[in-house]
Symmetry: C2
């Protein structure tokens, strides 16, 4: 529907929400949010999308992220207020609410979506783990993985195993170049295991990723941790 009155638009949106359709609008609007934080957005031309699962997205002309949004699980409501179309989405836990007030509607449309196929994605940390379990020598000659997701008081270790000499080895895997955060994570696991397995056991911590930043390299050295360069995919 092109250039509808706000009343016409409201009727179409109400009907579409009842049918659990996906609704899109384009028009001049203000946006208010209140919940985990709070925000106000002055008038501008924006794209609005309402999904049947409760998602509410407001996009400007730039950026990958919506300028404002409401997560899945919200309830959409639409009404006329002060000659404007107000679309409000509310949820609880956490309590939050998004209200879009359209003074002019350039465009409204509704679609009946079919359920999606699931996506097949390659090149993740899980792929890196599979690669290592299949060819442990990529990490180091003689490395033997014993378990994955081994629990420690500091969280689950990606890969847990032994080196050629029988020393315990902890691997932390990252699919791409890593900074200081990953070193901290690896260090937590190593310290937790040293405490768990008693102090005399030497435990090697190895960060496995395509590359590391300078600061991360310095932190690794400081903590006596190691680095092995590997990508999720064979080249």
């Amino acid at each position: 529907m092109q250039d509808p009155t706000v009343t016409e638009a409201a009727a179409l949106v109400s009907d579409a929400l009842d049918r659990a359709a996906l609704v899109t609008l384009f028009g001049r609007c203000t946006v208010e949010y209140e919940g985990r934080a709070a925000s106000e957005l002055a008038p501008g031309d924006r794209h609005v999308m309402l999904k049947p699962d409760g998602t509410h997205l407001v996009h400007g002309d730039e950026g990958q992220k919506p300028v404002n949004w409401q997560p899945p699980g919200s309830e959409h409501d639409c009404r006329i207020e002060d000659a404007a179309l107000v679309i409000e989405s509310v949820r609880t836990n956490p309590e939050e609410r998004l209200a879009v007030t359209l003074s002019t509607v350039v465009h409204v449309a509704a679609f009946d979506p079919t359920d999606d196929e699931s996506i097949d994605l390659v090149g993740t940390e899980a792929d890196l783990k599979r690669r290592i379990l299949k060819s442990p020598d990529l990490v180091e000659a003689g490395f033997r993985p014993l378990s994955t997701e081994r629990e420690t008081p500091a969280g689950a270790v990606d890969v847990y195993g032994e080196d050629r000499e029988g020393r315990t080895v902890v691997l932390e895997l990252k699919r791409r170049r890593v900074g200081p955060d990953a070193v901290g994570q690896l260090n937590r696991y190593v310290e937790a295991l040293e405490r768990d397995l008693h102090a005399d056991a030497e435990i090697r911590g190895v960060l496995v990723a395509p590359s590391v930043t300078e600061r991360a390299k310095a932190l690794l050295a400081e903590r006596g941790l190691e680095f092995v360069s590997l990508t999720p995919q064979a080249d």
Copy 2:
């Protein structure tokens, strides 16, 4: 435009891309991505958005995140191939490419966007910092902030100051409930400063956030770090 042929749709999209308009489509499509990772998506009805800044979003009927996307800075291109409308967005650094192949187009529209107002958001970590600098006693009676963003070899400390007895205090601020990662961050700063200011100086590390998880609390105790409960906003 409702139920156009792919040729009509292609003409509209090409024209809109030349005008740097925002384009939306709805229809049956497959999606291919290759770059930082790689993915394939089988046929389904989806919503496609092309922004003039190079952003390309493909939304299914669920979730806040697009099922597939291409970041800002990409170049859009549209053509007919095998009786289907192919919209491809490509960028370099990193090299990546998203291709949407629409076999049926239910809907196409183009909008000429006006520049957006900027958003006014409150309840951020910056708000928490302002609150503390204005009323340092909220952290602890007698606390005196000396600088913010003080540089250490491990990165910049959120707030750096002294307690009533003149001991150095490092604050790490978080706007919401925190897990183990924030404790690791605080610990890095404290250790870096202990090294910097020589070993005999006692340095207190204080995590300031609304609350902490159990694991984070245990890690704090282990490291001799402290916690103060504060939210970004006064209640």
